[in-house]
Amino acid sequence: MATATTVELKIQRFDPERDNEPHWQTLTVPVEPMDRVLDVLTRAKELFDGSITFRRSCAHGVCGSDALLINGRNRLACKLRVEQLGKTITVAPLPGLPIVKDLVVDMDGFFEKYRSVQPYLVASPVEGSGERLQSAEQRDRFDDTTKCILCAACTTSCPSFWAEPEYVGPAAIVNAHRFIFDSRDENAEARLDILSDEDGVWRCRTTFNCVEACPRGINITKAILEVSSAISTRE
């Protein structure tokens, strides 16, 4: 498509020290051909309003800081090129989490849920000085779920999470999956117990929003179904 020289950037603003409610600010921002949404946000902050607030770090889709609701979908601002979006870019914080300021949401509850599934290897000590052996097939079994960067795009796109904020959510289940299906781990039962709780895997309604939202291309719904199937088989 032809290169636009400016875009209309519509940002949801909220300053808890001044505002009672979020409101919208629209800015006309110059853009370059290969710009990503993060570049446009940064330029708006630098040129027009230093108080525009958002998280960012690696700027190439591996740290998970800048997941935002962009033109109605959860995406990483640093992985989304402006030319894919047309003349108006609407940016809001991830839905379903408390807003701290502007585009920044409170992530503590999200990370608390991640920690609740015991996302770490539990295994008996190994004899000798070498590594544990694992076949390439065993390694492949959980490859997809090792890619998660905990950006929260999936969990905050999930209607079940919006309806029931206690739901542990897709991201936590993905990270449980990563260990449940690791041949070296000995703690699958405990994780399956946690996830068979009423706020565990059963809240998934397979809407596939999470799969669409994942910037890492993880087949999240498949992972959730594998975990729920492991629970069912066990019972």
Binding site: R18, K45, T53, S57, A59, K79, P119, K147, F179
Partner: protein, 593 residues
């Protein structure tokens, strides 16, 4: 509640503090937890956002899982790769301890790729050779091309398991010293943390403080580094009288995405990728006939500049091609999935069918806060220790990388010396009394932060940052000379003058990134100054420091580490000292590949 800060201050006592939650900080925290030492880990991000996670290609250790290998070969490669500036006792520790560190990571759960017999798989990487330089060796242990991501995740997971106390999104804005600054025999006794979500100040007191804050790539316009890599730990130590070591040695990685600098891993060349000029020729034949595309990074970055200067850049422009097409779809998608995605997303290029345009990108600081082998920070060229202060990972200069770091050795460094830091800090914590409480320790930095947001008018920080990044790119890049570096030193001094009048717009106390980015710009100016001053003084070419006016390595004058101190009261840095390189096994030789 105003001007970016709140009036209340919280005081917290622990035994150990870790600043930064990348690989080095996390492994140190894990060792401290194993010893039962009360520890606080402060990070200005969430731990999983740290830049260790961006490392792609692998971590070298002479496991010998797929072919014969020995830690002595790894040690030699590290020293030769560093153009004989690495301290050889440190390089020995690095190469020896890489082996148990990688094994331990596997035991912690890191999902390495596997060989057919179930062991950790290994692949080739730049500058890593068999039998002291005969040819490439398979030494890099990897998890697809997201090895750093898996290291970061695995160490964080183990920290959760061990109950490590994290202070997420706390920006460390100052260090606390008692009994004078580092150059007056003082001791580091804590840090000042600024809680980003509400603007409160936290004074943390401890017996041992670890700097694990990473590098400062954001001083350059084209960089692979995260926005958060602004030299915080180096600048804070420098301001308290700690010298910075070997800052002139800054690595440009040869294969960054054109214009924006995002890295396309050396793994692409480790798997067999080519570098081609506009004639379609593998130009590394001319520069490193034995190792070709697997020559060290400094040599390849220079070769690209030479090709471009000779008019052999693609389309006559300032980039060349990285070509992986001959590897086939299976290898590209299975072993290089992330960088394939980067090329598609950020350049609109399909690596399976097209060559990818690349150019050198500012990547890694070989220099930093000087330490001994136990990660204790050094106050001078004689090896005197700064009590209470430690550094590990990219922020530190042990020195294991010398004048040029080999690929994967950054991960090896942060594993080996992160672990060593935790062990040494635990020993110190058990044998040292708690320092006295320093009343009002936060006052100085509070005043500095207030000044940024209460000036009635002033320059926007972004303007200075843009100028600095352009200046460093043009004048303190791959090739340098006296005129370029002299202009850089002057230019940075001018920008520092303007920074004294900088003003931020956001005056709130909740998540004030405007204020913190202005603070970070101050760190960038300091690290840039240390870099330019050190580079100006080193009249030779060695590793990543290439002086066109002094093209040869000069061992008679410069087989030595640079130490540079900050000038007094805002004056430019002028105090420089040199300390000898530790040579144990390998006499310096000409560096040919």
């Amino acid at each position: 509640m105003s001007a970016g800060l709140r009036a209340d201050t919280t005081h917290i006592d622990v035994d150990a503090i870790v600043v930064g939650a990348g690989g080095a900080g996390l492994w140190a925290a894990l060792e401290l937890a194993r010893e039962g030492i009360p520890t606080a880990v402060l990070t200005k991000l969430y731990p999983t956002r740290s830049h260790t996670g961006a490392a792609q290609g692998g971590v070298c250790a002479a496991l010998g899982n797929v072919e014969e290998d020995h830690w002595e070969w790894h040690m030699f490669d590290t020293i030769k790769g560093g153009d004989y500036l690495a301290d050889q006792d440190a390089a020995e520790v690095l190469a020896r301890e890489a082996i148990p560190a990688v094994i331990e990571l596997e035991r912690m759960g890191l999902p390495f790729n596997r060989t057919p017999d179930g062991k950790i798989d290994q692949r080739r990487f730049g500058g890593h050779t068999r039998n002291f330089g005969e040819g490439p060796v398979r030494r890099s242990c990897y998890a697809a091309d997201r090895t750093g991501h898996m290291i970061l995740q695995t160490l964080y997971q183990q920290c959760i398991k061990a109950g490590v106390k994290f202070y997420d999104e706390y920006h460390v804005v100052d260090l606390v010293f008692e009994g004078g600054e580092a150059d007056q025999g003082g001791r580091c006794s804590g840090v000042i943390g600024y809680k980003i979500s509400d603007g409160t100040m936290h004074v943390l007191r401890a017996k041992a403080v670890l700097l694990a804050t990473g590098g400062y790539g954001r001083a350059w316009r084209v960089t692979s580094n995260a926005h958060s890599l602004t030299g915080d730990g180096m600048a804070l130590a420098w301001r308290h009288g700690v010298p910075l070591q070997d800052m002139e040695f800054y690595q440009f990685h040869p294969t960054g995405i054109v214009g924006i600098g995002i890295l396309l891993s050396e793994a692409a060349r480790g798997e067999g990728g080519y570098l081609l000029n506009n004639e379609g020729k593998r130009f590394m034949e001319t520069y490193a006939p034995k190792l070709m595309e697997l020559a060290p990074r400094d040599m390849i970055s220079r070769a690209i500049y030479q090709e471009v200067r000779a008019g052999r850049g693609i389309g006559g422009k300032d980039f060349i091609h990285l070509d992986v097409r001959h590897l086939g779809r299976k290898v590209i998608e299975e072993k290089l999935p992330d960088i394939t995605d980067f090329a598609r997303v950020y350049q609109g290029v399909e690596p399976i069918s097209e060559p990818v345009p690349v150019q050198p990108t500012a990547h890694y600081a070989m220099g930093g806060v000087p330490t001994n082998l136990e990660t204790e920070v050094l106050a001078d060229a004689r090896g005197n220790v700064v009590p209470g202060l430690f550094a590990a990972g990219e922020v530190a200069c042990v020195s294991v990388h010398g004048a040029n770091r080999l690929g994967t050795n950054s991960l090896v460094d942060l594993l080996v010396f992160g672990k060593r830091a935790g062990i040494r800090m635990a020993q110190i914590c058990k044998s040292t009394p708690q320092p006295g409480s320093v009343q009002g320790a936060e006052r100085a930095v509070r005043d500095e932060l207030l000044a940024l947001s209460t000036r009635p008018s002033g320059v926007r920080p972004a303007e200075i940052r843009r100028e600095l990044a352009a200046l460093m790119m043009d004048n303190v890049g791959v090739y340098r000379d006296e005129a370029l570096l002299g202009a850089a030193v002057k230019g940075i001094a001018k920008l520092k003058g303007e920074y004294a009048n900088v003003r931020v717009e956001d005056t709130g106390s909740v998540f004030n990134t405007d204020l913190l980015e202005a603070r970070e710009l101050g760190y960038l100016l300091d690290t840039a100054e240390a870099t330019a001053v050190s580079a100006y003084a080193r009249e030779e070419s060695r590793g990543a420091h290439s002086r066109e006016d002094f093209p040869e390595r000069d061992d008679a004058k410069f087989l030595a580490h640079t130490l540079v101190w900050q000038g007094a009261a805002g004056a430019p840095a002028t105090k420089i000292d040199y300390k000898p390189v530790t040579i144990t096994k390998f006499e310096p030789k000409p560096r040919v590949y």
